[in-house]
Symmetry: C2
Subunit: 218 residues, 2 copies
């Protein structure tokens, strides 16, 4: 029997990517277990999702701590207490400090709603629309101390359609995120990711050399 | 009968994108005519391609001119002399000056081997590999005074494969360029492009909302 990877998820809101990972595990297609969910907001729907699946869930208010490092130390203690091996950020609206990264070296993942290095930081969908890009996407990466600068694990491209608004574009990006994030976590759980400098080498991958003409298609 | 758009192509080397545009015209699928090809190198293969198709071809040595503006004024004179309406850069390794852009307002196109705004400038494929990107692509844009910063007409995404080198990746990007560039020129020839600020609005486009999970695919 395959050993299950113990995952801790940090969220601030809806937690739809948390749900996508839970669903993939329930399908028996991801050798992992979400052992705890922590939010920094008491009203985060992610807490309810965790409860629905009998997953331990904490609410840790960052305002109860003296600073970022103190808050992160508490997060680390809680996660380590549950035996967490991989930390998955799912809409967690806090900067991660060195304290946290040192406790989970190359074991903190995030997903960003753009094809990095394009459109890092907040409001990535609005940035892409304002720039007039015709293709954007989403990126799963290991977290480092920069803003969306860590080594890239996986990316998916998404066309920007003529009538797209932030809302319609975000919806389509979310659909891809819900495929891409569980897939990236699965690669990690299967021990297939190796970081070499800036590059994440995926072993045993069989990618067909097809490419797709996303825009324009008449 | 549809009026044919008169195109001038500037190249410095192989001119494979010139060939792709010529081929699309010969297929009867692009209401345009390449009326002249100008290179800044006497040994550019693009000259031979032009000759093969009976297209007027010039070699203009930038070293024969006192500076960029003087060279560009000569290019403009040659292009205007042939009645050129749209200038297509096809591997033209020279910076385009204000003199040139003023003569052809929003009528100079370029193609870049990355999904802008990622990886602008030289060696875009190497930049993408060095960054560890999993998806890159190509971008057709109107030329402005910046480096690869002009309004984007069309983009196509291309996965970066585990064993890709600059050579293999460049080859796959070229294949997409040869589809995307003629398509963008066609949109222009059909009068379907309108620039609004940074955004290029394409009229009459019918893009299906499909998106593709390019990486990873197990």
């Amino acid at each position: 029997m395959v050993k299950k990877l113990k995952i801790g998820v940090l969220a601030s809101g809806n937690g739809s990517n948390l749900q996508a990972i839970i669903d993939r595990i329930l399908r028996g297609d991801l050798p992992a277990e979400v052992v705890c969910v922590i939010t920094n907001r008491s009203d985060a729907f992610a807490l309810e999702r965790a409860n629905n699946h009998g997953i331990t869930a904490f609410y840790l208010n960052h305002r109860d701590f003296s600073g970022r490092a103190a808050y992160d130390a508490a997060l680390v203690a809680a996660l380590k207490g549950e035996g967490v091996e991989l930390v998955v950020l799912a809409g967690f609206m806090r900067i991660i400090t060195r304290v946290f990264l040192d406790a989970f070296p190359q074991a903190v993942m995030n997903i960003h709603p753009a094809l990095l290095p394009s459109f890092p930081g907040l409001h990535a969908q609005q940035q892409a629309l304002d720039y007039g890009a015709k293709v954007t996407g989403c990126t799963v990466h290991f977290v480092d101390e920069g803003t969306d600068t860590g080594p890239i694990i996986a990316q998916a491209a998404i066309p920007i359609l003529p009538d797209d608004t932030v809302e319609t574009l975000s919806q389509r990006i979310h659909l891809q995120e819900h495929l891409l994030y569980p897939e990236a976590v699965k690669l990690y759980a299967e021990g297939r990711l190796r970081v070499e400098g800036r590059r994440v080498v995926v072993s045993g991958i069989h990618t067909s050399p097809q490419s797709s003409l996303l825009n324009p298609s008449a």
